[in-house]
Amino acid sequence: MNEPVLTTENLRIGYSGRGGVRRIIADHLNLTLRSGEVVCLMGPNGVGKSTLLRTLIGMQPPLAGRVFLDKTDLATLKPREIARRISVVLTERIEVGQLSVYNLVALGRYPYTNWFGRLTPHDEAIVQTAIAATQAEHLARRYIHELSDGERQRVMVARALAQEPQVMVLDEPTAFLDLSHRVAMMQLLRRLAHDTQRAVILSTHDLDLALRSADIVWLMTTDGTVYSGAPEDLVLSGAFEKAFANCEITFDRYHGQFRFHYSSVHRATLLGEGLIRKWTSHALERIGYLTSSTDNPTALRITISGTEQQPCWHIQAKGHPERCVYSLHDLVTLVREMSPSGN
């Protein structure tokens, strides 16, 4: 088993305001972060993920308990010493003006360079390695403001890597990225963690991606509990349901995804098979119809014909003339018009 690099001991996080008023966000946290692992920190908005991250990197003092970095109490370390072991990537989209990618990544050497920030050949080599490890060589001479969001985030990871940290902390690194860039970012982080034996912790709302790529999930709930375990463990134990459950959605443990609560007030008979049937049923569910294939007498009866390329829906409803439509959008529009409640 890998070495623990960051551990917490009865950690209490939160804010101390004026006059000693304290707002405790979570208490008695005993968490362990091991080298070579990717941890995804998850939880509903406003649950205190950022507060936990800030406390772990020493930017916010704990209300009680301690954070240990390599068995040393974080509170006893100087900012420069912490910076040599922990680096961060923030959510905010940075505006650095006319800085080249290379210069930006080189800023990661800040805790190592002398008073004037002069890079030694060793520093230069590490900057090159960081750029190579994030596959950003082709960007090195470009300006930051010319990069796309995905490239920018990649470069920010390179900068964090140039800091040679034992722990890399990322606050919602995939927030602005599309699906393919999100996947690429997660694969990059996994590779960095596993290949270089660093610990990576990131907060994310992307459940699907976390389930697929996290070694460990830390799941924060509104009552201040943090569940820790393999993502699959948390699915099985029902932790995800506890963390996110409300009247709008439920967690589908079987598929590992959330489902909306549709108030299905109508019933419809749907005759047909295969992929077309699945998505027809999906569309009808969205507008409040529960479908069944048995030919019960219902107010609405839809028959699928045609091919996947050219599907056709035959609609029979009480009190309406029979109709044929050729797209699900038309189907949904028509059914809505027919609906007794005007739904």
Binding site: W115, G117, S148
Partner: protein
């Protein structure tokens, strides 16, 4: 979006370090030429080769020229160069600290403090019916410099104290703004109750002038600006880290309160010294950093600080040269000239270089 413009954008080519070095050397050469030109031009034109003879051999066709060069024009040109360099670097530091392209050396209220000091001396000291002659005497007096230094110094100490307390630099920005409002309110009151001659004297001071600095005063101004610039060089690394914002800077091990105080100290010493000796010279502080960024296409302070020194000095020398209105026997208000001539140049350069995307 970036991809569409990247290939066509001129600025996408990152200037090589050696090229930046060459540009810096050319800049220093231009500063030297401006310096010599400003020695040659004036109400008594002195040919350039005579200027060089005077500089190297201390003799000329006419003895008066030596006196003019040594007693008036060299102190004045040195003052202009020092003031321009100081304001450029001070403005650069403020723009980086506040991550705001509109920030200038006076944003912390330093020059407002200096103005208040001068206003108190010019507008209210002595009896109300002091003669015009006495007021003009007051203007050339060292007491103005002392008053301005006091005003600037008090505001500076206040701002540095607060810089160590607050978490966010924005608080500092608002505070500087409020100090400016309060001091200008007091100045308005003083102006309202003052007599016309004194008001005129105050307004003349507020136009800005490089000509009032004597050799003995230069021995104070020069080292003060030297200290301010030295501090700025020491802060280069921190300023670069601050480009990423304060959170990133802290995560890289920076003590934000200490750094901020250092930047404020350096910037305030530079702006305060210039205001005390030359009056509130506007515009240079906000314009010079933009010019440098546009010319060198970088935000790296290792390059920008020397660039701001050279470009700042040159702009101040050229501005003063134009204010002299060579060939005419009048002297135009310096502040008006720097803005009138400088603003179109800056607009042109920025439109040329940035092509719509604006950044620090």
């Amino acid at each position: 979006m970036g991809k569409i413009f990247a290939t066509t954008n001129k600025s996408s080519v990152h200037l090589h370090q050696h090229l930046q070095m060459v540009i810096l050397i050319v800049m220093s050469g231009i500063t030297l030429v401006s310096f010599l030109l400003s020695l040659s031009a004036g109400s008594v034109p002195i040919p350039l080769e005579q200027v060089l003879t005077i500089l190297f051999h201390k003799e000329a066709e006419r003895a008066t020229w030596v006196t003019i060069i040594y007693d008036f024009r060299i102190p004045k040109a040195l003052t202009a160069a020092l003031a321009g360099a100081a304001l450029g670097v001070s403005g650069l530091q403020m723009q980086t600290l506040f991550r705001n392209p509109l920030a200038d050396p006076f944003i912390l209220g330093i020059s407002s403090g200096a103005s208040l000091g001068v206003a108190i001396v010019v507008l209210s000291v002595g009896t109300a019916n002091t003669s015009l002659l006495a007021v003009t005497g007051l203007l050339s007096n060292i007491s103005l410099v002392v008053a301005a230094s006091f005003g600037a110094g008090i505001v500076m100490i206040l701002v540095i104290f607060i810089a160590q307390q607050v978490r966010s630099s924005i608080t500092l920005l608002i505070l500087g703004l409020m100090i400016s409002y309060v001091t200008s309110a007091v100045v308005s009151l003083l102006l309202y109750f003052s007599i016309a001659e004194r008001i005129h004297a105050y307004i003349a001071w507020s136009f800005g002038n490089f000509g009032g600095v004597t050799w003995s005063q230069l021995w104070v101004l020069g080292p003060t600006i030297g200290i301010g610039l030295f501090l700025a060089f020491l802060l280069t690394k921190a300023l670069n880290a601050l480009l990423l914002g304060e959170t990133y800077a802290r995560s890289m091990g920076m003590n934000i309160q200490m750094t901020r105080s250092g930047i404020v100290l350096s910037s305030a010493v530079l702006a305060g010294a210039v205001t005390a000796f030359c009056g509130p010279i506007a515009f240079l502080g906000v314009a010079v950093p933009h010019l440098c960024r546009a010319l060198l296409r970088t935000s790296d302070h290792n390059v920008l600080i020397p660039a701001c020194i050279w470009v700042g000095a040159t702009t101040a020398l050229v501005g003063d040269l134009i204010a002299q209105a060579p060939g005419f026997s009048i002297v135009l208000p310096l502040n008006a000239i720097t803005s009138l001539v400088g603003a179109p140049i800056v607009i042109w350069v920025i439109l040329q270089r940035y092509r719509g995307t604006f950044s620090l």
